[in-house]
Structure formats: C-alpha cells, structure tokens
C-alpha cells in the first residue's frame, strides 16, 4: 500500500559520527530508507540505537556525516542552517517526550506561537479541538496534566499543517491511559490529514498502530515489518 504513494523522505547511506580522534561514536552506520506520504512509521529500538539521531536528521535538527536525505526531491543534507530553520517552520511538526511547552503561554498561545509564523495554518482553536482540548485552551501548562500538556504539544505541532510529524517518545513520560489518549490524537492527525508520521518508541506495543515498523539497532536498520492492518490506538494495551 505504502509503496504506491509519493516518497516524502528518501534517505541514502547516511552515517553519523559523533566526536573526533580516538573517541568516536558511530550513531548511524549507513541507513537507506524511503518514507511515503501519509505513512505511519514506528522506529523501534533500544536507547542508543540511533533512532533519535535519524529522527533529528530527518527534521533538520542535526546533519548527517555522510550520505544524503532528500525531502520531496530536494536534498536537505546540503542546506545551511537558515534554510533548515525555514524547512522546520514550514514542513515539520515535532513532538517531544517532555512536551516542551512554553510555561508562560496558555495552551492557545502555545499553539499561536506556531500559527503566527506558519504559511497556511489552522487556527489555534481548530488545532486544540483536534486533540480534544477545546475546554482547556486558556490554561497555562502548570494547570494541565501531563497528558493534556502532550496534547497541546501535538496541537502545536500540527497547527501549521506540516508535511511530516516527528514524535520522539511521545508517551515516554505518561501512564498507559494518558499515553493512549496522546496516541489517539497522533493517529487522528495521520488519518485525517494524511500527515507522514514517524514515532520513536521503545514500547513495542505501539508498533501495532504503524503501517511499517522499522527496527533499528547499533546504527543500522535490522529489519522492517509491514503491518497488513493497523490497530486502533484505543485497542493498545501494555
């Protein structure tokens, strides 16, 4: 199914080496990967396997040591920092494990932070409705639960209608019930907007939601599983 869609990211032979001289760490040792439009991909691997490095390179936060990454036929690996900033601004939505909301802004304002600078955003209210937070729009982060904060982060990520949504351990700091609420929101975005979604996790259960599950260890893709049918986030249990 996925193969018929347009390729959003084409990753060819990327490596990432941290440090210099005797003490170097090979975070990625040569990754080849295509991600397709509307696809839901889960990156599964132990900590230190290189999955976050891959995600950061895809999102334009980090650069590869060698190899190339193309986003819709443009080679982002060659872009300067300013161009990467614009790339993130226009095309990428990020969700982090620790939410990273601005504590001095309300939920609505946190989303407005993005809608103010995006090209064709939805309104903050629309975005917050997508994650079922219309009732809590004027609350500050300190007045929201962890799950609610993560949903605000998702609303903030998708309000610009990004081409890709990159989530790094979005449920890592949450309990099962709130985690599932957050995954539901991600799933809904992916289905309704067709946003290419990459979720990093070390929770194998979440893999059931994906079109493809990419197992990474030691800086290499070990195997790729294709799910014939995706499960609902609501049906997940761990």
């Amino acid at each position: 199914m996925a193969e018929n869609r347009r390729v959003v990211f084409a990753v060819r032979g990327i490596t990432k080496v941290y440090g210099t001289g005797g003490l170097t760490v090979h975070a990625l040792r040569g990754i080849d990967l295509d991600l397709h439009e509307g696809e839901f991909v889960v990156l599964l691997g132990a900590s230190g396997s290189g999955k976050s490095t891959l995600l950061n390179i895809l999102g334009g936060l980090d650069s590869a040591s060698t190899g190339e990454v193309r986003f819709r036929d443009e080679e982002i690996t060659a872009w300067p920092a300013a161009r990467l900033t614009d790339f993130r601004r226009d095309h990428v939505g990020f969700v982090f494990q620790f939410y990273n909301l601005i504590p001095s802004l309300t939920a609505r304002e946190n989303v407005a932070l993005v809608t103010d600078i995006a090209r064709a955003p939805m309104t903050p209210e629309e975005a917050l409705r997508m994650v079922d937070l219309q009732e809590r729009m004027d609350h500050f982060p300190s007045q929201l639960s962890g799950g609610e904060q993560q949903r605000v982060a998702i609303a903030r990520a998708i309000a610009k209608r990004p081409g890709v949504l990159l989530c790094d351990e979005p449920t890592g700091a949450l309990d099962v019930r709130t985690g599932i609420g957050v995954l539901r929101a991600i799933e809904r975005i992916n289905r309704e907007f067709g946003t290419t979604t990459v979720v990093i996790t070390h929770n194998a259960v979440i893999a059931g939601m994906a079109n493809r599950v990419i197992h990474i260890s030691d800086g290499l893709i070990q195997r790729i599983e294709v799910n014939e049918s995706r499960c609902d986030a609501g049906s997940l249990k761990w």
């Binding site: 976050s52 614009d86 601004r89 226009d90 990273n100 601005i102 504590p103 001095s104 802004l105 500050f140």
Partner: protein, 799 residues
C-alpha cells in the same frame, strides 16, 4: 571507610572547580563587582587612615598648638600673662606678615607669608618647623630664610638661591638655607584662593630678630599659639585670651577646628568617610545580589545532583557547606582582586593628597588590619547572599528533587487585561509574563543598572560643578584682571595713584574688615567687603544673586554669601550682630538685605558708605581690583611691586590656570575610576542577570528554534527583556544620580568652599551612552549564547 572518605571529599571538591570553570563569565563578573566595591572601601579607608595617622603623628611630633590668635601688635611681655591663663601649658609668640616675592625667571606675582623663627628648633615650644633640606637659618648673616618645601620644589630652587622679598615696603634679597614644613601649613592656601598654588604662594621662615627689625616690631608679636594642658577648657581660654589681646588689636582667637590647614584636613576626612562607606556598600550589596541569583540558578540546575548526593548519604549540612565553599572561592577572588586594586588606588589617591597635604612623614600607610576587615566584610556579605539559595536547595527531599520539575507557574496578569496588549504576539506575552513573574528580581536588576548609571553621573558631577564655578566666578563675577592688597587701610587717594599707572584701565576700591558675625547661638568669623559706589567706580567684581542676576549692595544692610547664610541659618531680614575685629572691637547690628552666589565660602558685602558708617570712620581701602591692558601686564605688575603700600598682587588668569591645573588631573583620575567602576557594575549586573535568564529560558528558546523560529525571532525575546531592564533603569539611574550628587554637594560644602549642585546635559548623555554600550556588549554575548544553544540536548533533558 575512614581512609576512603577523604577521596570522596576530594571528588566533590573537584566539582567546585569544574562548576566554576563552566560559569567563568559569571564568576568573573561577580568577582569584578566585588573587587570594585572592596577597592573603593580599601582605598577610601587607606586615605582616611593615612591622613589621620600622618596628622596625629605629625601634630604630636611638631607640638601643634591648640589655640591660635592674631593681634595687630602686642608687646612680648603679654606672653607671660597669657601663660597664666588657666589650662595653658605652652605659649609661642612671633611675627607673621604677608609679603610679595620675586623669584628669578618667574614673572607672575607671587605672594607669601613670612614667619619668625627662634634661634633653634628646640626653642620652639609649639608648631615646630621641620627642616627638610639644608639647615636652620642664622640671624644677621646674609638675611637667611627657610622656604616651604612645596614652594621650593614648584620653583625648582636650590639651596643658596636668593629670592627678592618686599619686607615692610623695602625689597630685600634673602638667601635660602633650607626647606621646611610646619604643622600649621600642612596645606598652604593663598588668601582668598580655592586651592593651594605652590607657584604663587609660599611660606617663609626668618630668624625672629631679623624679621622684627624689618617690620619695626622689636619686642612685639602679632601672632600667638597656645598649647593646652589636659582637661583645659578651650572656650574659656579663648575668651580670656581675647580679653587679654583686645587692647592690642586682637583679631579673635580660635581653636584648632578653625585653623585653616587643620580644617581642610578635617573636611577631607569627612568626605573620605562618606566615600568609603556609601559607594562600597552599594557595590557589595549588588555583588551579594548577583551571587545570590547566580548560585540559586546553579543549585536549581543541580537539583538532581543534590538529590543523588543526598541519596548517597551526604548530609544536608555537607551539601550546604559544599556550595558555601563554592561561594568562598568567589569571595576569595573578589577579595584578592579588591585588595590589590584597593591598595593600588589607595596609593594613587594618597599620592593625589600628597600634592596638597605636606607631611614630613610618609603619608601612605597600608593597614594590614584593614585588609583583614575587608575580607571579613566580604565573607559576611557573600554568605548573606548565598545562605537563602543554599537553604532552599538543600531542603528539598531527594525523591522530589529527582523528579522532573512541574512547569513553572504563570498566571494571567494585569497586563493581559489591558485591551491594547490583547493583540500582542506570543513572544511579547512571554516577555511580559516573565517580567511579571519575578518582580523582585526584575526590580533588583533595574536597580543595579540604575546604580551604575548614577555612578556615571556622580563621576562627571565634579567636572560640571567646577565648570559652573569657573563660569560664574571667573566669568560673570570677576571682571578684573588683578587684585591688589594693601598692608594696612589706605586712604582713598591710592586709587588715583593706581589708576595713574600706565596700562591700568580701571580700578575698583574695596575696604575689607575682619568681623565676627553672630546670630542667636551661631557665630562665624570672616570679613566684610565694603564695595564702592557704582556711580563713582566701575564695578569689577560683580555680585550675583542665586539666579545669577547682578545685584548691588543696598544703601543699608548686608549681602551675605549662601555659605554664610547657611552657616548662620540667616535669611534676608535677619538682624546680625557684627563684632568688628579692629581697634576697640565695636559691636553693631546690621540687617541682612539679601543672599549672593559666591564660591569663596563665608563672605559678606556692604556698600562702602554703609560700612564706613558702621565703622564710624572715613573712607579707606584695603583691596583694589584692577583691569589691566594685557600687553602691559608685566610693567603694571612691576610698578605695583615697587609700591610700599602693596602687600600682594594676584592675577586672575594665573589663579584660574593653577586652579585648573591642580584640580584637572585629579578630576580626570577620579572620573576614570568612576567610569571604570560604573561600567563594571553595569556589565556585571546586565551580564549576570541575562545569563541567568538565558539559562532559565534555554529550553523555551530551543523549543522555539526547533519549531521553526529563526535566530533573530528568538533572540529578540531576551533582547527585549534586556531592553526593558535597561530602559527602566536609565531614567531611574539619572534620578538617583541627581539625588546622590545633591547629597554630595551638600556634604562637601563647608565654610571654606561651596560645591554648587550643577549637572550638565552632556553628563546625562554620557551616562546613557555608557549604559547603552554596556548593554550592547552584553546583548552580543547573549546572542552568542542563543546561537550556541544545543537544540537536541536541551530538548532531551528535562528541566
């Protein structure tokens, strides 16, 4: 176990160095502010201690008198009666006369004071002259004299040189056998001058018999000094002395506190006390505040580390001690820097004082106890700055400290309710809410920067004040080129003689009379100047009221200077009692007609005719102001010097130049110190406050960068924060600076001189510019900090 413990302690101590090395910018800024505060304290205290010590030592060694009196002429036999006054232990009488002097190759008028000496120093019971070079002069032989050391040095004279001195109208050639210093001339002030001028005023000592002969005062004296025994009643001694001397033309006895040289030192010490207390207190409080903010932030960042240490079994006390040790390193740095800087500044400043105050002993004295006191003071202040932070950090239970912190609590604020701000961008809201959340810190930050700008204003206040004095005194008021003083009251016709000199364009006569003013319990001794009728003589010394408008003395009544008015607490309309210190010391009552702006200290003016009525005598002059054709200045001066009546001539241009020369360099140096210190505070406060804000907000800023904000869009949030601090601080600083200058002007004003409260626009401009420049530099650092944010690491870490 016991053997391993020291290793663990060493590991935690190593953490101190690593942590400090990481914060080196902040550490440097805090240590610099501390050093400045401490340096001013040490320098001020050193000057104060040095002056005090040198004065005490010198007074004791030279047997400085307690009571002084001048008299027209009294027979030597009176000294025996003075000795009988109860409480008097020593009496030293002699002759002192004003003289005009000619030094080879120096064409300007020079005046001086010549004082009689006994045969040997041992014969001086009081105010002993110390011979610094050469030898004691011997009578008769070659007309020998001692010359005051500053005069000797200023003119680069040599022993054996001769100078021309007009003694009682006769010019005589005197030979220099040595140089001297005496405790009653530690500072040598020319009469009517603002500052010592060693080129144009000197003190000379001559064997008593020679001087008596020259002035036809054999067996007489015109000045006397008294030493008092323990428990003597000075007031009573002065009263009895006045009574004793009255028949001989006593000019009023006074104590040490009114002796000119001593009073200058006392005023100086008073200023130093102010200087070594207030500015250091401000500096050190700011340093303590910076230490508190920076350490609080550090401990906040290290909450998990503190928790881990606690879970290992480190006690709260041990961890608290760890941070106190970290603070001690800063204190040590500040103390070391401040001590070195303070010792150097103290030396520079005592050097400046040494130009004015001459002691035969070394003036500079660094007191080791002072440095110990400074270190203790720093420790107390720094611990006060650190204690709160340490207490709150170590009191959190480890389990809580290891949890990620909940998001900081923000609330909708008053600003959110202002309709105009409803449309504000999220970045603007972030800025406003952050400022509102920490009002105390914002306020202290603003205050710190404001203090820096006020320091810059204080730094330039001296210049503005002096510029004003020059403008008013030398520009508006003194329209004359030279002032001529006469030995004794002369008939009015000498004015015609002066006017007849080729090159003299106009002359204004003045009659100056020594008086003692009384109003209620207060009394002040000074002179009244009787100024001539403006219809008959050109006014060459203008009187100005406080608004700088010209005023004329009324037909009756007195005009008194601002300084005299405030010393007596007199207002226009008050009736003053005038005790005339001439002849039989008559007393009169005269009303105050107005107040005049005058920087000569205690002065009073009347119309000449009114003064003559008060004195009940005919017209006479003691002083004349001259306007001279500049091309013929030298010839005029030569003619004046030859006149037997003339006791002294002073050129306005020369006194103005010497005033600027003397004070200019010191002012420049003090301004430089001030600007350096104020800039240090400005940079210290701004840099530290903003580093802490950057650290606290790095996560937010990194998030914004990740979600697509450009560098400039993120940077502006912090720069906006900085701008708010600076823009609030500048007007506050200008206001504070103005208040401080007003306080300084008040505290520096003495009977001897008045410091006008004047601040020029440039002073404010410079202060604003320096603060803006300091902010700009900090903004660049801040920008670099934002550029260096590690986006990935910040996002991975929990706050």
């Amino acid at each position: 176990m016991r053997r391993r413990l020291p290793e663990v302690v060493r590991a935690i101590d190593r953490k101190i160095w690593r942590d400090l090395a990481r914060m080196k910018g902040q550490v440097g800024a805090i240590a610099a502010v501390m050093s400045c505060g401490l340096a001013i304290f040490i320098a001020g205290m050193t000057c104060q201690g040095s002056l005090n010590r040198a004065r005490a030592e010198y007074y004791a060694e030279s047997l400085f008198a307690h009571v002084f009196a001048a008299v027209k002429s009294a027979p030597s036999s009176v000294t025996a009666r003075i000795r009988e006054i109860e409480g008097v232990s020593k009496v030293q009488s002699g002759i002192a006369q004003p003289v005009t002097v000619t030094v080879k190759d120096f064409t300007e008028p020079v005046t001086g004071r010549i004082i009689s000496l006994p045969e040997a120093v041992e014969a001086m019971d009081l105010n002993r002259v110390t011979v610094r070079r050469g030898r004691w002069p011997v009578r008769g032989r070659d007309r020998e004299i001692l010359v005051s050391e500053p005069f000797f040095e200023a003119h680069r004279l040599a022993l054996g040189d001769r100078i021309q001195v007009v003694l009682n109208g006769r010019e005589e050639e005197l030979t220099i056998t040595g140089t001297g210093l005496s405790p009653d001339f530690i500072i040598e002030m020319p009469p009517g001058g603002f500052l010592p001028d060693s080129l144009r005023f000197g003190v000379f000592w001559m064997p008593g018999e020679d001087l008596e002969a020259a002035f036809a005062m054999e067996g007489a004296f015109n000045q006397v000094a008294l030493g008092l025994g323990m428990g003597a009643n000075q007031e009573e001694v002065i009263r009895q002395l006045d009574d004793l001397l009255e028949p001989y033309g006593g000019l009023g006895a006074f104590g040490r506190e009114d002796q000119l040289s001593d009073r200058f030192i006392a005023d100086e010490l008073k200023q130093l006390r102010v200087m070594s207390f207030f500015p250091p207190a401000i500096f050190l409080s700011i340093a303590a505040y910076l230490l508190n903010v920076s350490l609080s932030r550090l401990m906040h960042l290290q909450r998990p580390q503190i928790a881990v240490l606690k879970s290992f079994g480190y006690s709260t006390g041990e961890i608290g001690w760890h941070y106190v040790k970290m603070a001690s390193v800063l204190i040590l740095l500040g103390t070391a820097g401040g001590s070195l800087l303070g010792a150097w500044m103290g030396r520079v400043m005592t050097g400046m004082y040494q130009r004015f105050y001459r002691f035969p002993v070394e003036l500079y004295h660094a007191d080791p106890a002072l440095f110990a006191l400074a270190a203790a003071l720093m420790a107390v202040l720094a611990i006060a700055g650190v204690a709160g932070a340490v207490r709150s950090a170590v009191s959190i239970p480890p389990a809580v400290a290891m949890q990620p912190e909940p998001p900081a609590v923000y609330r909708k604020s008053i600003l959110d309710r202002i309709p105009m701000l409803r449309g504000a961008s999220p970045s603007a809201r972030m800025l406003i809410r952050e400022l509102e959340r920490r009002p105390r810190r914002v306020f202290l930050g603003i205050f710190g920067i404001a203090f820096a700008s006020s320091g810059l204003i204080m730094g330039n206040f001296g210049k503005d004040s002096i510029q004003y004095i020059i403008d008013v005194q030398f520009g508006l008021s003194q329209r004359f080129d030279a002032a001529v003083t006469f030995h004794r009251p002369a008939p009015l016709r000498v004015i015609q003689d002066l006017r007849a000199i080729d090159g003299v364009e106009s002359v204004e006569p003045v009659r100056a009379v020594p008086v003692k003013f009384r109003l209620g319990p207060r009394s002040k001794q000074t002179t009244v100047q009787g100024v001539a009728d403006p219809e008959r003589f050109v006014r060459l010394k203008q009187l100005l009221d406080v608004d700088r408008h010209l005023v004329e003395p009324p037909r009756e009544g007195l005009l008194i200077s601002v300084a005299l008015a405030s010393a007596l607490r007199a207002q226009a309309g008050d009736l003053l009692t005038l005790e005339i210190l001439e002849r039989n010391r008559p007393r009169r009552e005269v009303a105050v007609a107005g107040i005049v702006e005058d920087f000569e200290g205690l002065s009073a003016y009347m119309s000449l005719s009114a003064l003559n009525r008060v004195l009940r005598e005919g017209p006479s002059v003691t002083l004349a102001f001259l306007r001279i054709d500049p091309a013929r200045e030298k010839e005029v001066y030569q003619r004046l010097r030859e006149s037997p009546r003339v006791a002294g001539v002073s050129l306005k241009r020369a006194s103005m130049r010497s005033f600027l020369d003397t004070i200019g360099e010191n002012l420049l140096r003090m301004r430089l110190f001030n600007v350096i210190f104020a800039t240090t505070i400005a940079v210290g406060v701004i840099y530290n406050s903003m580093r802490v804000v950057l650290s606290e907000r790095s996560r937010e800023l990194a998030t914004m960068r990740v979600i697509g904000f450009r560098h400039g869009e993120v940077s502006v949030i912090l720069q906006g924060h900085l701008a708010v601090l600076v823009l609030c601080a500048i007007p506050l600083g200008l206001g504070l600076g103005t208040l401080f200058c007003l306080a300084i002007a008040r505290s520096l004003t003495t009977d001897l001189y008045r410091v006008p409260f004047v601040l020029n626009r440039e002073t404010f401009g410079v202060a604003i510019l320096v603060v803006l420049a300091a902010s700009f530099v900090c903004a660049l650092f801040l920008d670099r900090g934002i550029r260096r944010l590690d986006l990935i690491a910040v996002l991975k870490a929990r706050d």
